[in-house]
Amino acid sequence: MMGSQAMADEALLWVIRTRDPDFTDWEAFTLWLERDARHAGAYDAMMARDAGLDALVPPAISPPPLPANDAGAPRRRWGWIAGGAIAAGLVATLSLGLFNRTDIYTVATRPGETRIVALEEGTRVEMNGATTMRFDRKDARFAALDGGEAVFTVRHDARDPFRVTVGNAVFEDAGTVFNIVRERASTRIGVSEGEVVYNPQGEAISLKAGRALIEDASGLHLMAVDTRSIASWRDGRLVYANAPVAQIAQDIARSLDVRLTTTPGARAQRFTGTIRIDRDPVRFFRDAAPLLGLSAHRDGNGWVLKEGDGTVG
């Protein structure tokens, strides 16, 4: 009988192999699965550990090592897979779209920059700052939010629903305006009109206007939200009801072109109210810091929010 460590090692090897975009030897994989009834479970468990590793690994900090011999410049044609591989957290509905990838293109905004992408008559995506998305030239009913925030205004068609892929989750419209925020470890969606279905193939949770859903490491959370607060960034305002400063700081960093950090003490606080967005950081923090009950200070070429009495400087 095989030891559990040996089985885990083999399962890991199969995770690596099957994750390879060029993997073809599914028959060998089948044979391995058949050899021991516990293999499937070991593979699933290892895949579950694999999920989210991309969130754990920081972006490259050093340039890649040089080739050991003259293998030529690194190939660029794989660039389009980059986001896809992360999303290839392997939802069946998503994987149907994994081929023909030359039709997939990426749109990204800088912090403070917003952009509207019209996909077809009646369907548009408004991207907030610091946001990366993928679209499909051949399929106007597909969008993937890889990071950041966007509002979706969608022409409803029950026979051909509009789907947004966010990490491993899929949101499917049922006649809708909705806002999605994707941060490293969490996804937040708020529905301001109509209805959205979360993971139609799985949990199939229906979200009506005024409902919100958060998916993070602790699981799924459903709640009520004020529809006026959803996607208020489009009107140059950020509207909150008892929101943690940690979340507000992320929203500010997307809306202003500043690097913003917060102290643990500041992050632990909450805020209810409206903050007006001003692209000028000095003016912005002069108004916002007293509202938040925090103080804002310059920190190198960025800003830091900390506990305090509203002083700015």
């Binding site: 690596i16 939802v91 023909n100 709640m223 008892n242």
Partner: protein, 170 residues
Amino acid sequence: MATGLSAIFLHNRPALLRFLRARGAGDEAEDLLQDIWIKLEAKDLGPVADPLPYLYRIANNLMLDRYRSSVRRARREEDWATGAGGVMADPMEASAIDERLIMTQSLEEAQAALRALGPRVAHVFRRFRLEGVGQKNIAEELGVSLTTVEKDLQKAYRALTGLKQKLDTE
């Protein structure tokens, strides 16, 4: 569905069924295969370069998705039972803030763990897991053997999944 794909689907039905059963689908293997068929028919895929591996991949993804859903469901039911989670009136509990602190910490730990394995291992892992580049291409880029790339990936995976497990149980 592309006609070539449906022919290949039908021809390889027994093999795909066998795969789904081995993958843990049990009695539901037939139904799952039927679901895949319906989904493929509903979607105009255009020509698919390598249809059979593609079909296997869809089947495998479906099983992974089911596994994830069942884990989530179990976790939710547990949350309900302990009264800790489920539907909450408040968007973010304090735990979300702790989560973020832990995240910053674990990022640093992950970085250190990767750094300890050397720059090539870290590069290979990023290229493979974050950028989705195949092992063969990575081997060509770096001028090393395929075995080296696979070994590098195993090392990185062991270190990071070990770290993740440690963080999850803390």
